[in-house]
């Protein structure tokens, strides 16, 4: 019963919670470990990465300073030259060669490689220039002939100023005073500034130089304004920046605010034909990092930053170069991995270690779960053992409380019941060895499934010699399949097959080293619980059998029952024999669909025989005669006596016979009256009940010479059930089918609706009397 309970009140929710915790606890533990490790790893990675980025920024800042310094130094000759020129070039600029300018120019060109040329011009259009030509120097003068034609007069000199040769070029419409470097310097001077004026970089196609010119205005001794200019090639700045190592694979570039590249990797193809250095810009497709860094600079100004491109992080730094050109910006970038690579490696290692720790933690958790489950199984096993012990105790208690347990004269069915219950056997039986030693008699056999006892079976040594040998040796036989064992094969076929059992435990009972019987278990299922209960029952049975042996001495053995040979009478059960019909026809065997049946049940004779037995017998005889007469007068088909029951058939024919049910009901009322009257006279309660039904029965003659007519079937069963379940003694209960046949002629009182497994929901009625 408790096993099918939806809620087991004996099971505490704490147990369920404990079981849940046993499983979830380790899992949650592992998840916490994983979460903690992940958080720590992420935190470590972030800290390391921030450190690496900070370090990268420092490195880049250092690089930036270095580059700034280099650029400053690269452009420094311009500043120095401007200062010197203001002091050195006081002489008026004329068509005469300005020796000081030339000397200074050649010297600078010889020692400062980035300087490309020097210019000197005045407000009268005089123009002098010194630059390199191969290994020598070219001193150029803008000459105007009297006719007004202009030409460049080139004097090629060596390092010491010694003229090597001359040549000339046309210089149509060239006026130095309209050149940007001249105009810019003059404008700056007019504004009162003494600093240099820088032109925008411009390509010098003939020499493949990318030039920037710085100029300063000065006043010569003759009062004329002159402009001194120095041109610096940016090609070497490109070479410098290109060779600069920023991290492992970083780059540097100088651009103006419009993205035009001043110096850097974009300009390395400057010497190739057709390359226009004045039109090189940052390409957002190929240089997204520099482009983004420049855009950030435009918005935020100088500083470090992080740019992501193509799934890579770059550290960038941007700064202006105001000392060189107010619109120049120095950009540096380097992949983050160049600096933070160790952090990535450390992260991978951390992940590996974390996985290792998680794996170990998972193993630990799994172990805990398994251990928990094992503990739970042990707990259950202990519970089952306690349950077993408890059940054994209960069995013992029942055994101990059984009166006359050791008295062989009293049956003790509890022995086999306990055996079957505790061992889970399909059938448990106790057999006694008869005095001849060659037969075992079944004292009691209990079949669990049917909840039924039986007794009396006998097996002999002739048929089961091996089992008898085992019994005499006192050996217990325990075989899972008795049909496969030669010793028990015959027993299985003869006895066990009736309950389809295969497993057999054959336990001899010994008293004073002599066999006195056996305990047999068929299909036991609880092997571990067997030994104890078998031992207990064996002890009891041995004591019982030992007493029995004492009583079964030859002197005290009862005399044999006298045997009288007499003919068996089969037809005595019928007070009205079906063969006594007027035509004396024998009812053919078969199924009769509509047979009215009545069963009269008298209560246990012992309960009514409170007075004198003879008086009771007299009453019963008188009553039976009256009933017989009533049945005969009513023309009933048959009347049969079975123990304390009378079975009446109103008719038995294949054709519908409504009169048969009426006759039977009429007889029922008469019988009730007769019984009530007779019993009341004898001062006895109405100890009879009557049930009636109309339904199918089977009828047949059974046996031969003589054969006996017998009926059985559903109508008999229902009438029997109705008789047994009348609400009170002395009442007639009829089925719904009988009611339908009789309701027009008799009075009924409905009892109610009832569910009967074989018939479904049906009604029953109490027959009150005739209408």
């Amino acid at each position: 019963m408790p096993s099918v309970e939806i809620v087991d009140p004996a099971s505490s929710p704490e147990n369920s919670r404990r079981q849940l915790f046993q499983i979830l606890g380790p899992i949650i533990g592992v998840l916490l470990v994983i979460a903690t490790i992940s958080l720590v790893s992420i935190h470590n990675y972030r800290i390391t990465r921030q450190g690496a980025i900070s370090l990268s920024n420092d490195l880049l800042t250092s690089q930036q300073r270095y580059v700034t310094q280099e650029v400053n130094e690269y452009l420094a000759p311009a500043s120095g030259s401007a200062v010197i020129a203001q002091d050195m070039l006081r002489s008026p600029v004329s068509d005469a060669t300005p020796e000081t300018f030339m000397l200074y120019g050649r010297s600078m060109l010889a020692h400062v490689p980035q300087v490309d040329s020097f210019y000197l011009a005045n407000d009268q259009g005089q123009f002098w220039m010194v630059t390199r030509r191969g290994d020598h120097y070219e001193e150029t003068h803008l000459h105007k002939d009297p006719a007004g034609a202009q030409s460049y007069q080139h004097m090629i000199v060596d390092r010491d100023g010694k003229l090597l040769f001359t040549d000339a070029d046309h210089a149509t419409d060239y006026d130095p005073r309209v050149r940007p470097w001249y105009m810019g310097a003059v404008k700056r001077a007019k504004q009162g500034g003494n600093d240099l004026y820088w032109t925008d970089p411009y390509p010098y196609i003939s020499t493949h130089q990318f030039i920037i010119t710085a100029s300063v205005a000065l006043t010569t001794n003759d009062g004329h304004r002159a402009v001194f200019a120095i041109s610096i090639s940016l090609n070497r700045l490109t070479e410098f920046l290109d060779s600069l190592q920023v991290g492992k694979s970083g780059r540097a570039v100088i651009v103006d605010m419009h993205g035009r590249v001043i110096a850097g990797r974009n300009m390395v193809d400057m010497n190739k034909p057709g390359f226009d250095p004045g039109n090189v810009h940052l390409d957002p497709q190929t240089q997204p990092v520099f482009t983004r860094a420049l855009n950030v600079f435009r918005v935020k100004g100088a500083g470090a930053g992080l740019v992501q491109s193509k799934n890579r992080n770059y550290v960038t730094i941007a700064s202006g170069l105001p000392f060189a050109h107010r619109h120049w910006v120095l950009l540096l970038n380097a992949p983050e991995s160049d600096f933070a690579d160790f952090a990535s490696v450390a992260r991978k290692q951390n992940v590996l270690f974390s996985l290792l720790v998680v794996g170990l933690a998972s193993l630990l958790a799994l172990g805990l779960v398994i251990q928990g489950r094992r503990m739970e199984r042990l707990r259950k096993r202990i519970g089952l053992m306690r349950e077993s012990v408890r059940a054994e105790n209960a069995s013992l208690l029942r055994l101990a409380g059984t009166p006359d347990l050791l008295d062989p004269a009293h049956d003790v069915p509890i022995l086999t019941e306990s055996l079957a219950e505790r061992t889970g056997a399909r059938r448990a039986s106790i057999w006694r060895l008869l005095p001849d030693g060659k037969r075992l008699l079944c004292e009691d056999s209990f079949e669990m499934g049917r909840d039924a006892h039986s007794t009396g079976m006998e097996i002999t040594e002739r048929e089961h010699a091996a089992l008898f040998d085992l019994m005499r040796e006192g050996h217990t036989l325990d075989v899972p399949d008795a049909s496969a064992d030669e010793r028990s094969k015959s027993f299985q076929q003869l006895v066990m097959r009736t309950v389809d059992a295969h497993g057999l435990v054959f336990h001899p009972l010994m008293s004073n080293h002599k066999p006195i019987g056996v305990i047999i278990l068929e299909d036991p299922t609880q092997a571990d619980a067997m030994e104890h209960i078998i031992a207990i029952v064996s002890s009891v049975v041995v004591l019982r059998f030992a007493h029995s042996h004492d009583h079964d001495t030859p002197e005290s053995a009862p005399a044999a029952i006298p045997y009288h040979e007499q003919a068996t009478r089969f037809d005595e059960g019928f007070l009205i024999n079906p063969g006594q019909s007027p035509d004396d026809e024998v009812v053919p065997a078969g199924l009769y669909a509509q047979v009215p049946v009545m069963v009269v049940v008298f209560s246990d004779p012992h309960s009514m025989a409170r007075g004198d037995v003879l008086q009771s017998l007299e009453l019963i005889t008188s009553l039976s005669v009256q009933i017989q007469k009533i049945a005969r007068d009513a023309g009933l088909f048959s009347m049969q006596v079975i123990s304390n029951r009378l079975v009446f058939l109103g008719g038995c024919s294949q054709e519908p016979d409504p009169g048969a049910a009426l006759r039977l009901a009429d007889a029922a009322v008469s019988i009730r009256e007769a019984c009530l009257t007779s019993l009341a006279r004898a001062d006895i309660d109405p100890v009879f009940r009557i049930g009636m039904d109309v339904g199918p029965v089977m009828a047949s003659l059974l046996g031969a010479e003589p054969s006996v007519f017998n009926v059985w079937g559903e109508a008999i069963n229902v009438a029997d059930l109705l008789a047994d379940s009348t609400p009170d003694g002395g009442t007639i209960q009829v089925s719904e089918q009988a009611y339908l046949s009789l309701r027009e002629y008799f009075l009924f009182r409905p009892r109610g609706m009832f569910y009967i497994p074989s018939s479904g929901i049906t009604r029953s009625f109490i027959l009150a009397g005739r209408r």
């Binding site: 099918v4 939806i6 009140p9 004996a10 105790n393 309960s607 497994p757 029953s764």
Partner: protein, 238 residues
């Protein structure tokens, strides 16, 4: 200990009242100490002239009456220590016949009979119907009654009372004057079922207004008690 399902022994008492003092204001049962110890298979015959008091005492045994002191333990479990869900489940193991029948007339008698087992167990309905029908026949009904209880005769209702109480193999039977109006055949069937239940280990409390209700069964009982306003007292000679 009561919370440990492994700790209970089959030899433990099925019902135990340990100085249980009900709260009068909450129950109407006199606030005195009640003591009772009922082992499996034992039957206590309790004489109580007041049917209402008998009914309240049965309520006390089923944990329906709050206590101011002491405890009532059923099958090793203290009612006060059980949460509602388990307490109701434990009551599902108790078979009871109450004085007023306790029938719900809105539904058929069969539903009234089957409901407790349908609510508390997973027993298939077919099995329950089969068992109930068998019990019904045993107690003198032609089958399982399906009419509402109010439309059954008083005697058939008493038979149905028996079916409901014995269905489901209860561990404790609380019977309030169960054999009132019983004819001899029903009385015999009732005693037969009662003896069978006790053999199975079911403890029984049989409350009756006087000892005539027990007829000859008094000798088979383990305890004879009287329920007065000031508690339970053993009957002389028991």
């Amino acid at each position: 200990m009561a919370e440990d399902d492994l700790g209970r022994s089959a030899l433990d008492p099925v019902l135990e009242l340990l100085d249980a003092r009900p709260r009068f204001d909450a129950s109407g049962l006199f606030s005195t100490r009640y003591n009772l110890h009922l082992n499996p298979g034992e039957c206590a015959l309790i004489e109580c002239r007041d049917p209402r008091q008998a009914s309240l005492f049965a309520d006390l045994c089923t944990g329906l009456i709050p206590l101011s002191e002491g405890s009532v333990r059923c099958m090793g479990l203290d009612w006060d220590a059980l949460e509602d869900r388990r307490a109701w489940a434990l009551r599902g193991r108790i078979g009871r016949m109450v004085t007023d029948g306790g029938w719900i007339d809105l539904y058929g008698t069969h539903l009234n009979i089957l409901w407790p087992q349908m609510h508390h167990t997973r027993t298939p309905l077919g099995t329950l119907v089969e068992k109930a029908t068998r019990l019904g026949i045993r107690f003198g009904l032609p089958g399982l009654p399906v009419l509402p209880p109010g439309r059954l005769s008083a005697l058939d209702r008493r038979r149905a009372d028996c079916v409901r109480a014995f269905l489901g193999e209860p561990s404790l039977l609380l019977l309030e004057n169960p054999v009132e109006m019983f004819p001899s055949d029903l009385y015999a069937a009732f005693l037969s079922a009662l003896t069978e239940a006790r053999d199975r280990g079911c403890a029984v409390i049989w409350l009756a207004p006087d000892d005539s209700a027990w007829r000859g069964y008094g000798q088979g009982a383990s305890l004879h008690l009287r329920l007065y306003d000031d508690g339970l007292f053993s009957m002389r000679g028991s």
